[in-house]
């Protein structure tokens, strides 16, 4: 079984040059940075907020905040990691406003009832995603990941969807590397468990519901 390959973000060769230019007020250079990462920020924001309008706001607010605070970007990390950190914080603020009275924190170490060993071990069809239309599959995947606590799904999205390394994810979320690994494992196992009912092999072959 081969290792999962990560799809790390765009080229970084001239990125520092763009950041330097943007720092001197070159808005076009900053516009290029927006072009590189707006899709990623939008995806992350929607995964956290579950709301398209909020995600649009997060894209704007995160990039504006990044622009205004570029002077504080020291270049010790990738610009993208620094940007993701800003975007995650903006998205969490939106989520807190949308759900007042409910704690929304990345520090929570959630124990849920399906958090232990896998309960259901059912093999899946060879290409489970092909049993559904694109629209059905998107609906299944969206509803499934939305069921995870924010602290789990944010780690999963940064690490497995956006392709940040474990260290970059830890930096973006201000978590320790062991905390990222622990949450990632549990997020992956919980998603797998929840997808079982859609993807497992059924007697008689065709598993479409």
């Amino acid at each position: 079984m081969s290792a999962i390959e990560t799809n790390v973000g765009g080229p970084v060769t001239d990125e520092l040059a763009l950041v330097q230019a943007a720092k001197t007020g070159d808005v076009e250079a900053f516009g290029e940075l927006v072009r590189r990462y707006d899709r990623n920020v939008f995806r992350i924001a929607q995964h956290i907020t579950h709301n398209r309008e909020d995600a649009e706001d997060v894209v704007q607010d995160a990039f504006l905040k990044a622009y205004e605070n570029l002077g504080q970007f020291q270049g010790n990390s990738k610009f993208y990691t620094w940007l993701v950190r800003i975007a995650v914080n903006e998205a969490l603020m939106k989520l807190r406003r949308a759900k007042p009275g409910r704690t929304v924190s990345l520090d929570e170490d959630v124990q849920t009832e399906d958090d232990s060993l896998p309960r259901e071990v059912a093999d899946w069809s060879p290409n489970p995603e092909q049993q559904y239309t694109q629209a059905e599959l998107k609906d299944i995947l969206t509803r499934t990941i939305q069921g995870l606590p924010p602290s789990f799904r944010t780690v999963f999205v940064l690490r497995d969807v956006e392709g940040l390394s474990t260290e970059e994810t830890a930096e973006a979320l201000d978590l320790s590397v062991p905390a990222v690994k622990s949450r990632l494992l549990r997020a992956r196992l919980q998603l797998r468990e929840r997808l079982n009912r859609f993807f497992q092999k059924r007697n008689g072959g065709d598993s479409k519901q």
């Binding site: 007020g25 995600a55 704007q60 002077g71 497995d160 992956r188 797998r192």
Partner: protein
């Protein structure tokens, strides 16, 4: 190796960040433990399906609108500070 120990290493195994000896132990476990093989295989598929899913794509028209708004607002704001980098 017990199943619980296997699961503890599952993330490192799937990410390919594991030493050769531990990897050999995990694969030895996978060879005879069907349950762990299925969990490992379906977890890997879970990751791949989400990675390939294209959930929440940003449509081009919205993308252009957002970028124009961001750039226009940046032009109206003060220059970022020169410090850093």
């Amino acid at each position: 190796m017990k199943c619980a120990e296997f699961l503890q290493e599952l993330t490192n195994y799937l990410d390919g960040v594991i030493d050769d000896r531990t990897k050999a132990e995990l694969e030895d476990h996978l060879a005879w433990c069907h349950n762990c093989y299925v969990v490992c295989d379906t977890t890997r598929k879970t990751i791949e399906i989400y990675r390939d899913s294209k959930l929440y794509e940003l449509p081009d028209d919205l993308r252009n609108r957002l970028r124009s708004a961001i750039v226009s607002k940046c032009q109206g704001r003060r220059k970022p500070g020169p410090q850093g980098v």
